[in-house]
Amino acid sequence: MNPTLEQLSEHFGRLTTGTASAVVQVADPALKGYHLDVTVAPSLVVEAAGVADRAGFALDAVTGVDWLAQNEMEVVYDYFHPESPLRVVVRTRIPRAEPELPTIAGVFAGANWHERETHDFFGIRFTGHPNLKPFLLPEDATFHPLLKDYKP
């Protein structure tokens, strides 16, 4: 029932958009805190979530990292497995100018809040999100505080 690391890397490795396929790296949990580091194209995050869901993973967190120098934003999906000691990180990069990404709230219901938070903090729009309202920030906030070029 519980997936092994090999099976998982194979499942994630099969993800492809036709032009770009997922890059799967096995990490040392003693140094990194996770076992598998998967980098996918932005259009593949939902499928990656599907792979994680079928393998019985639970959503840990969704968050962003603003790479100002590269003019990109990274969105990181953390998954943990409730029944076996496995952690997977799925990451993707989107352009800073057009931060848009499909939502995974349809796969993991818990992503709803995490994505709203990420929207608040980074201004990343999750297309297809059921309820992308201001969340932690005041409802009239027009800024995204975790952007590196944000000045309070």
Binding site: V76, A109, E139, L146
Partner: protein
């Protein structure tokens, strides 16, 4: 945070028997532990939709992490969830230690385990008392606080603070555990065992409490998984998920303990899990007290701490569940990104789905059994 359209009751198609109304529970409601606001669409006493509205004490800890050095962020960690400050500091310290490959002396690790478990017990005591307050029982919280005071006194004598301990440092501890503390902890363990029996007789076996919690607010294992609910919530759903075992850290692999699980998945199951956890924590403390070696309490730490480029995760089992810190470093003295994944956030996110069709007092009992700390959600 709420648009006008959300305040309009669900359309009843002109049928008055289907009329609903909006009830604003909080942010200053007695059962809204802190400043949680729940926007309820009610049909009589039945909840049609419960939308938690959060952010009233949002402090942007993550941004604070980005403009101060690693060490300067330490005091923040004990303020995210003020009831399990030790665990949160542990996670942050652990993440930095993992990234910078700092060795922690064994004595420090044991001291961390002892203080963490004491903190877990004190946190569960607050939950226990607060749950009973939600259910209308006043006396248990004062009994719990009487015992909790003993823990706080111990920790205060050890690290100088009663709540925001900030006791761990990169590579060890702020100061050494002294003999008075070790002896005091031993006495506390002996004191606590009969008290737990008293808690059981007074509250757990009480028919009113059983009626109020049994079968109320079932949260299935799959629901917990989809929302990432952890800690006693998922263990109350019969899944033996405990970060102390799933991603072993500190000296937990050397210590024996059971992961209490109850398959019923209702509020009573979550209640019993926490009651059992208190017992297990006492058991862990006893072992750690027996095993704690002598030696240094802090390891070698570079004066100017610069972490290697890349990201590192570190998760701990906090009192409310899995707390994970994800740090991203760009090689400078200051973190590039600090992500705090807090358990209460995920545990509350399932509330909207789970409370559908429940009756108001039951929904509040379920909320009490989730053990929420609002600053932990808002960060």
């Amino acid at each position: 945070m709420i648009a006008q359209k959300d305040l309009i009751p669900v359309d009843n198609g002109g049928d008055p028997t289907k009329e609903t109304f909006v009830l604003n529970l909080g942010p200053q409601h007695p059962a809204a532990h802190g400043v949680l606001r729940v926007l309820l669409t009610m049909d009589g006493e039945w909840i049609q939709r419960a939308e938690p509205v959060i952010g009233y004490i949002h402090r942007m800890h993550e941004k604070m992490g980005e403009n101060r050095t690693w060490a300067k962020f330490l005091p923040n960690t004990s303020r995210i969830d003020y009831l399990s400050a030790m665990h949160y500091t542990h996670a942050f310290v652990g993440a930095v230690e993992r990234a910078a490959k700092i060795e922690v002396p064994v004595r420090a690790e044991y001291a961390r385990v002892i203080t963490s478990e004491l903190n877990r017990i004190s946190s569960h005591m607050v939950w226990w008392g607060a749950l009973l307050l939600d259910l209308g029982g006043f006396t248990p919280i004062l009994y719990a606080f009487d015992d909790r005071e003993k823990i706080l006194d111990l920790l205060e004598a050890l690290c100088g603070a009663r709540l925001t301990y900030c006791y761990y440092r990169f590579g060890g501890l702020y100061n050494d555990v002294d003999d008075a503390f070790l002896k005091g902890t031993r006495d506390f363990v002996a004191h606590m065992k009969p008290r737990l029996k008293m808690y059981r007789e007074l509250v757990t076996d009480n028919i009113i409490l059983r009626k109020r919690l049994t079968g109320i607010g079932p949260l299935s294992a799959d629901l917990c998984r989809r929302y990432g609910a952890t800690g006693p919530v998922i263990r109350g759903a019969g899944v033996a998920y405990d970060v102390r075992r799933a991603e072993p850290y500190s000296v937990y692999p050397k210590l024996e303990f059971k992961i209490p699980t109850y398959p019923e998945a209702d509020s009573m199951a979550r209640y019993l899990v926490r009651m059992d956890e208190m017992e297990q924590s006492l058991f862990i403390i006893e072992q750690a007290l027996d095993q704690i070696p002598t030696g240094p309490f802090i390891g070698k730490v570079p004066r100017v701490l610069k972490l290697p480029v890349g990201d590192t995760c570190y998760a701990v089992e906090a009192a409310r569940g899995r707390f994970m810190v994800r740090i991203v470093s760009d090689g400078k003295e200051i973190p590039y990104r600090v992500k705090l994944r807090t358990p209460s956030f995920s545990n509350l996110s399932l509330y909207e789905e789970a409370s559908k069709g429940m009756i108001l007092p039951d929904a509040l009992a379920m909320m009490g059994s989730l053990d929420l700390v609002i600053p932990d959600i808002d960060r």
